[in-house]
């Protein structure tokens, strides 16, 4: 009989398992995993931990789940999402270990907290990769070496800026970040005598919601219409903010100097 209690946990332990699964799902969603992946992983964890009658519904910004005959039900709101694929990979690894029966609940909880605390790369790494990535994209879009240098300067600057004001609202960050990129590009391109267009779009790749947009269409293809819509509106809003940011600086530049750059 004692074996059976372990197979089908009850009471307090069920609630603890539920909390753990919700936290795992939230970690996945907050760090850029797809909706169906979060759903699938939570389902697998529930099966492995023998949580009966586990049902979950995941949206881009929320998780609804119940277990048993709905005697436990939980809702999580996930308003803020970034992309940290290392954490997604860690939670995935954890779910595999749980499914293989290698860890018990106690260890799993510890590992989940460790996964949530995997840091972002340090500031120098962020500035460097932003600069090199922007330069590479400026050249991929057909820019010359000089334009790549301008894009690198703007990409590095904007990553420093994003790091400095990570507390500000996301859309405000995007708007001011885009304005900053355009400003730096105009200044550096003016010094080097290069054209601004390729440099600006190369550095803007850091902020553009291309991945979000494509993932939203993927949600539609999967049949998650609501999640797809949320992501789509998110992507369109971000793009509008970027356009306002660059548009403002370009217009101001035209007014001040009388030269149209783009």
């Amino acid at each position: 009989m004692a074996e059976k209690i372990r197979l089908y946990p009850d009471g307090e332990e069920r609630r603890r398992i539920m909390d753990f699964i919700m936290a795992a799902g939230q970690t996945l969603l907050e760090n850029g995993a797809e909706v169906f992946r979060a759903e699938q992983t939570m389902q697998i964890m529930a099966n492995s931990l023998h949580l009966r009658e586990f049902h979950v519904y995941v949206l881009t910004n929320g998780i609804f789940a119940s277990a048993g005959t709905a005697e436990i039900s939980e809702v999580r709101n996930v308003p803020e999402r970034t992309i940290h694929l290392g954490r997604v990979a860690a939670v995935n690894e954890l779910s595999r270990e749980i499914a293989a029966g290698q860890v018990d609940l106690e260890q799993a909880e510890q590992q989940l907290v460790a996964a949530q605390r995997i840091p972002f790369p340090g500031l120098p790494a962020q500035i460097l990769s932003g600069a090199v990535g922007s330069a590479a994209f400026a050249m991929m879009f057909g820019g010359s070496l000089l334009e790549a240098v301008a894009a690198a300067a703007a990409g590095g600057t904007v990553n420093l800026y994003l790091w400095l004001c990570s507390r500000l609202p996301a859309l405000f960050q995007k708007l001011t970040g885009a304005a900053l990129i355009t400003l730096v590009c105009i200044l550096v391109c003016g010094l080097l005598g290069a054209s601004v267009n390729h440099a600006v779009i190369g550095a803007l790749m850091i902020l553009t919601p291309g991945v979000a947009f494509t993932m939203s269409i993927r949600d539609f293809v999967k049949g998650d219409y609501l999640s797809g819509t949320i992501r789509l509106i998110d992507a369109v809003l971000v793009a509008a903010c970027l356009a306002c940011g660059t548009g403002l600086v370009l217009r101001a530049h035209t007014l001040l100097t009388g030269v149209t750059v783009a």
């Binding site: 029966g101 990769s129 494509t214």
Partner: protein, 154 residues
């Protein structure tokens, strides 16, 4: 294919790899996945450039590029034991219409409706082509990695 074209493709391959890797680092991918991510992105971008060079339109080129990209991402996911998302999100970065969606919004605020409609249509078509290519290749049956089935405790 001429030497210049070959050189150009090689250059694009390297640039695609570098760009993907840099954004992968910003996305916080695990260290063991760095090379695999760069390879995924570079192969996707190379396929796209090759298709465009052969005179294929941008939308079809994106659809074509999504195929080897997703396959490679799945292979890396099995061999490196990481979720497909890690390689997929980074790998499609050179292809996604980030520039297109930005230009759409830019023409919108500039009141240039013709240009806006054109770039909006392109953006949606490219994103749809990518999404369909990825979904089809992810849905394809794949030989499962050999590992012991989850043991039930008795």
């Amino acid at each position: 294919m001429t030497g210049t074209q070959l050189f150009d493709l090689l250059r694009q391959f390297l640039l695609g790899g570098i760009g993907t890797l840099c954004f992968g680092i910003l996305f916080g991918i695990p260290r063991k996945c760095y090379l695999a991510c760069a390879a995924t992105g570079a192969v996707g971008w190379l396929t796209y450039e090759l298709a465009v060079m052969m005179g294929i339109g941008a939308v079809t080129a994106n659809l074509l590029a999504a195929i080897p990209l997703t396959l490679l991402a799945r292979i890396f996911a099995v061999t490196l034991k990481a979720p497909v998302t890690v390689f997929l999100l980074c790998g499609i970065f050179p292809l996604v219409p980030g520039a297109g969606i930005y230009y759409t919004a830019y023409y919108f605020i500039q009141n240039d409706n013709l240009q806006m409609a054109a770039s909006a249509a392109d953006t949606v078509k490219i994103a749809a082509a990518l999404a369909i290519g990825i979904s089809v290749m992810l849905g394809l049956p794949f030989p499962k990695p050999r590992h012991a089935p989850p043991e039930k405790k008795k």
